[in-house]
């Protein structure tokens, strides 16, 4: 039975060709074969959310995805949210609000918050809580993370309004 194959996968806008086995998890391949380490392994059973990646733009838990499923697909991790050496808006707000303690879960919360703001630019606090319910932070910095997300949404919306007003003039 042939059980290895090569897959073409785009990780953070870079095309990669990787040799994988059919029974390998996307989580392990991203970390060990592609060397992207912001994707953390926590529970391996879909409960902690730390292995979240954007799979064709949508968040999925990579411990419950086969690596072979990602053939020809586009994967984004926290490293891909902003160019090298820079921070994306949501990353900046996480830093400003000190929305982390040990930092282990931070990349997954940042990614999921980034996605949430892209589909719902003006979420309420309860919508944020609901959306992040599949992620666990053992340090318990949920309060600061929610503040960071609300502040990021507020500033992005203000910036949008300013741009719209300038264009109208």
């Amino acid at each position: 039975m042939k059980m290895t194959r090569s897959i073409n996968i785009k990780i953070n806008s870079v095309d990669r060709k990787l040799e994988i086995k059919d029974n390998e998890l996307l989580l392990d391949v991203i970390r060990d074969k592609a060397g992207v380490k912001s994707v953390k392994a926590g529970c391996w059973r879909g409960e902690c959310g730390l292995c979240t990646v954007l799979f064709d733009g949508k968040p999925v838990k990579s411990c419950l995805v086969l690596a072979v499923e990602a053939d020809g697909r586009d994967i984004t991790t926290a490293e891909g949210l902003a160019p090298e050496g820079q921070l994306s808006p949501i990353q900046k707000h996480f830093v400003e609000k000190a929305a982390m303690q040990c930092g282990f879960c931070t990349p997954s919360f940042v990614l999921t918050a980034h996605y949430l703001l892209s589909v719902n630019p003006n979420p309420t606090e309860s919508e944020i809580r609901e959306y992040l319910s599949g992620h666990i932070c053992r340090c318990g910095t949920y309060k600061q993370m929610i503040e960071a997300i609300l502040e990021c949404a507020k500033q992005q919306n203000q910036a949008k309004q300013t741009t719209a007003q300038t264009t109208r003039r």
Partner: protein, 293 residues
């Protein structure tokens, strides 16, 4: 990374991703019990990690266009394809009002990130007692459409789950779609559940009511799950609510009927007595909300 632990790795298998339904059915006919069907993979991969399931072949059905269907045909009902995700269902307009019990059920399942991959069909085919999907499907008289190389058939939801992790599907059959019947006009439905310290239900129920104030036209439907190995519809309460007695009295009687119709089980999540009590509490709440008493 996986430290060689069985719980963190998957057993060996070969992955297949057929592009057509015909091809899938042939593969399934050839490999039968040695093959497992995968859509979202949430349940399957978790069970494989625990070595509860060890298939030689994993057949991914996400490339098959016809399984992605999701359409509302008005009075003719609603069709949900096997690969339709929970998030697609939550965003689907007809579910918001007409099939509210199903929507409420999905909105309480797992979490928004997992719902990007998990499917209602996967939930139903897992056939585990604490899975919520089948209960609302019972009040919408759902049928599971199964296909094999020999043809198609429809299995009523009430006959689909045979026991714990056991369905009416043959080894060469693929569950391709869920068909829900349109509920009575102006009906309202709801879904309630009580969980242990996890998301897993120890009792869940779905109920539907049309014309609550006119006994002769009143329609009530009621189903429960998680309390026993298989979910069930309680038809006895449906006739009871056609009577002209005051509603609070009917509710009292109905709750008694519901309690007597069950054989609650004891497992790691809860004891039978507790399940029975919580079913009573949730039933009262459900009937009061729907019948406005």
């Amino acid at each position: 990374m996986s430290f060689g632990s069985a719980y963190l790795t998957l057993p060996d298998f070969q992955y297949l991703k057929p592009k057509t339904l015909q091809e899938t059915l042939q593969l399934l006919d050839e490999h039968k019990d040695e093959a497992k069907i995968m859509a979202g993979g949430i349940g399957l991969l978790a069970f494989m990690k625990e070595r509860l399931v060890d298939p030689r072949w994993v057949i991914d059905i996400k490339a098959i266009d016809e399984l992605h269907t999701l359409h509302d045909d008005g009075d003719k009902g609603l069709t949900i394809g096997a690969t339709t995700t929970m998030n697609q269902l939550l965003a689907f307009e007809p579910l918001k009002d007409k099939y509210k019990a199903l929507r409420d059920c999905i909105s309480l399942l797992s979490d928004p990130v997992l719902r990007n991959r998990s499917t209602l069909m996967g939930d139903v085919c897992e056939a585990l007692p604490f899975v919520d999907g089948p209960t609302p499907l019972l009040v919408f008289d759902a049928e599971i459409e199964a296909a094999s190389v020999k043809g198609k058939r429809r299995i009523p939801m009430a006959e689909f789950i045979k026991g714990i992790a056991e369905t009416a599907l043959e080894a060469n059959e693929l569950a391709v779609a869920i068909h829900l019947k349109s509920p009575p006009e102006h009906s309202q439905s709801l879904f309630l559940k009580h969980t242990s310290s996890s998301e897993f239900s120890i009792v869940n129920l779905a109920a539907l009511c049309a014309n609550p104030t006119k006994p002769e036209n009143r329609t009530v439907r009621f189903a429960y799950g998680a309390i026993a190995p298989t979910p069930a519809r309680v038809h006895e309460v449906e006739d009871l609510f056609k009577r002209k007695n005051p509603v609070p009295q009917l509710i009292d009687e109905a709750v008694g009927v519901v309690r007597k119709s069950t054989e609650p089980m004891t497992d790691v999540l809860a004891k039978a007595e507790y399940r029975s009590h919580m079913l009573e509490v949730l039933s009262i709440k459900a009937f009061r909300r729907l019948l406005g008493s």
